[in-house]
């Protein structure tokens, strides 16, 4: 197969559109935002259902607290802001107000990762997956394209319990189509190889697919796994892949601590310890720049994933 980089809509746009579809069928869905609805795309819902949309103002703690009250009365609140603001400022409210009582609140953020671009490091969330994963009982998801986003947001709406979903700012390359079916907690084997498994999430999934194409030229046969659900993670698929290929690269637009890399390592270290390498931010924030420049500078590219894959394959033979 030849891989074509065909750009679809940003995952945040897909979220906004999916919310409108959900709003049409579920009257209990209430959407709230902290003055960023034009960016998170909850504005689409706000226009369609003004009575069920609340712009709280710039107050993330209150946003989560109000969602707690609404959920305790049977509503299904979707709350949105930038990933770094909602998860960092609202974290303790999520912990005590949502995770502890296991309430049916959906936290969907935009501007995850460094592909936020020019706005710079204070706006780029590189730790939200780690924070979300330590909220007990939360499902944590990180979709890779518009079709997956739409499907996962809909699944989140019908799932009973707290969910975190991160979306991104830039247009995302298309991987799936409207017929693809997804399941919470089930990874997707996009390509099956025998030498190394590239495990990726979000924007890095397409990069991993491209890396696999490049590796083929060098005679390395790579698997590509899309892990859209970080928690609960698809251990079975990861272990099966690790047993088959014996080496793993994990790629994520996130710190290499506490996100997908940690989750994959934990799953494999118990059942099938193989060499694992990490593509992500290594104890650093990024900076201002065009998204493509930043992804290049910080190694979040197919090229770097391929070169790290060669490294892990070399480790395997030792």
């Amino acid at each position: 197969m030849s891989l074509e980089r065909k750009m679809g809509m940003a995952t945040r746009d897909a979220y906004g559109k999916a919310l409108v579809e959900i709003g049409q069928i579920n009257p209990d869905v209430i959407v709230m935002d902290a003055d960023l609805s034009k960016s998170t795309k909850t504005e689409f819902f706000g226009k369609a259902f003004p009575d069920r949309f609340i712009d709280i103002g710039i107050q993330e703690m209150n946003l989560v607290g109000i969602a707690t009250g609404l959920a305790s009365c049977g509503k299904i609140p979707f709350i949105s802001s930038f990933a770094c603001f909602l998860m960092c400022k609202g974290y303790e409210q999520l912990r005590v107000g949502v995770a502890f009582p296991h309430l049916n609140v959906k936290v969907v953020t935009s501007h995850s990762g460094i592909s936020v671009g020019e706005d710079g490091a204070s706006q780029q969330s590189v730790e939200d997956l780690a924070l979300a994963a330590t909220l007990v009982g939360f499902v944590v998801m990180s979709p890779s394209d518009e079709f997956q986003t739409r499907a996962l947001v809909k699944l989140a709406a019908s799932y009973k319990g707290p969910v975190y979903i991160r979306t991104g700012r830039p247009k995302a390359p298309v991987i799936y189509n409207e017929k693809t079916s997804f399941e919470i907690g089930k990874g997707i084997l996009l390509r099956s190889g025998k030498d190394v498994t590239l495990v990726a999430t979000g924007l890095m999934v397409f990069e991993a697919l491209e890396a696999a194409e490049n590796l083929k030229i060098k005679g390395i046969d790579a698997s590509v796994v899309d892990i859209h659900t970080i928690k609960p993670i698809d251990r079975d698929l990861l272990i099966k892949e690790a047993r088959k290929t014996g080496a793993v690269v994990v790629a994520e637009e996130h710190l290499i601590w506490g996100g997908l890399g940690s989750a994959v390592s934990q799953a494999l270290s118990q059942a099938c310890p193989v060499p694992v390498e990490f593509v992500g931010l290594d104890d650093t924030y990024a900076e201002s720049g065009r998204p493509d420049e930043l992804l290049e500078k910080y190694g979040l590219t197919s090229k770097n994933i391929a070169s790290v894959a060669e490294k892990v394959v070399a480790r395997k033979s030792k």
């Binding site: 607290g65 707690t68 009250g69 609404l70 009365c73 509503k75 107000g97 009582p101």
Partner: protein, 297 residues
């Protein structure tokens, strides 16, 4: 444990003042017993909010202890979670659970957690214990009522220490802007927080002016006078365009002479001797006092 009292939760009906006084006394005794046996916890802030809880659970709240999830019930968000011994006692005597269970407070496996846990005990409306979050939760309930065109009311009980928290003021400005007249905040102003007097830790100056400037209807009362509490709660039900806050002037440790205004008992349970003395002051009979002391290791 002393037997449960009759529940009268019918707003508009004549208030049985004697019954309320007896109930408040029962709750105060329970607080001492529970904390004495548990060996840890927060007596001062439990005793200061006892009368507020008594008026709400035993007269004003629309609730059904046999149907704690009744969708039309009034909500009571107990934001100052550390004062939960008072809440647990009120819930037990209102009929949510057997008062015998009160003495298991803070023990492994008890539904009566050190701070309220909504998943473990029916009647608890919100898991609290992290200060300053309750008003936001109350707003969520008040908004849900408005969305569903229901007439239930949401009460939030908060401590004056929680006014330190920024989230409280986020919630304050939001509630008045959205004209949430179905939201009633009762501030248990006992004038102390863990490290000392609120005026010395972070002086709020005029609390009433602050709430007024945030667009709330404000009433200041004696938080231990059942008559003033009743009048103030009635006042919150009069037609309004804004949320109401009752600033209840209270005494930390109210009802036990050596605990009153004594911040040592913010987060320290009475020892065996103090438990005995406190119960004696609260008019508990000797046999019951001996029974309780026998349960203290």
């Amino acid at each position: 444990m002393t037997k449960s009292v009759e529940v009268s939760n019918r707003p508009g009906q004549k208030i049985d003042w004697d019954s309320l006084s007896r109930t408040a006394l029962l709750i105060r005794r329970d607080i001492i017993k529970m904390l004495g046996i548990a060996g840890s916890g927060h007596p001062g802030g439990s005793l200061s909010c006892t009368d507020i809880l008594t008026l709400l659970y035993f007269h004003f709240l629309r609730h059904d202890p046999k149907n704690p999830k009744w969708p039309d019930r009034d909500r009571l968000i107990f934001s100052k979670g550390h004062g939960c011994p008072a809440l647990y006692s009120a819930l037990a005597h209102a009929g949510y659970f057997d008062p015998k269970m009160l003495l298991t407070l803070r023990q492994l496996g008890s539904p009566l957690q050190g701070h309220p846990d909504v998943r473990r005990l029916a009647g608890i409306e919100a898991s609290t214990g992290s200060l300053g979050q309750g008003l936001s939760v109350g707003i969520g309930c008040a908004l849900a009522a408005r969305l569903d065109k229901k007439d239930f009311l949401t009460y939030v009980i908060m401590s004056d220490g929680e006014l330190n928290e920024g989230q409280t003021w986020e919630a304050a400005m939001f509630a008045s802007f959205r004209k949430l007249s179905n939201l009633i905040l009762i501030l248990d102003m006992n004038k102390f927080q863990l490290s000392g007097a609120t005026k010395e830790i972070l002086d709020m100056h005029s609390v009433a002016d602050k709430w007024k400037s945030f667009g709330w209807a404000v009433r200041e009362i004696d938080g231990h006078s059942h008559k003033e509490l009743a009048q103030a709660i009635e006042w919150t039900r009069s037609p309004k365009n804004e949320p109401s806050v009752i600033l209840a002037d209270t005494v930390k440790g109210k009802g036990v002479s050596f605990m009153e205004h004594n911040n040592h008992f913010h987060g320290v349970a009475p020892n065996k001797d103090e438990t005995a003395r406190a119960l004696k002051e609260l008019g508990e009979n000797d046999a019951e006092i001996q029974r309780i002391l026998g349960m203290i290791p």
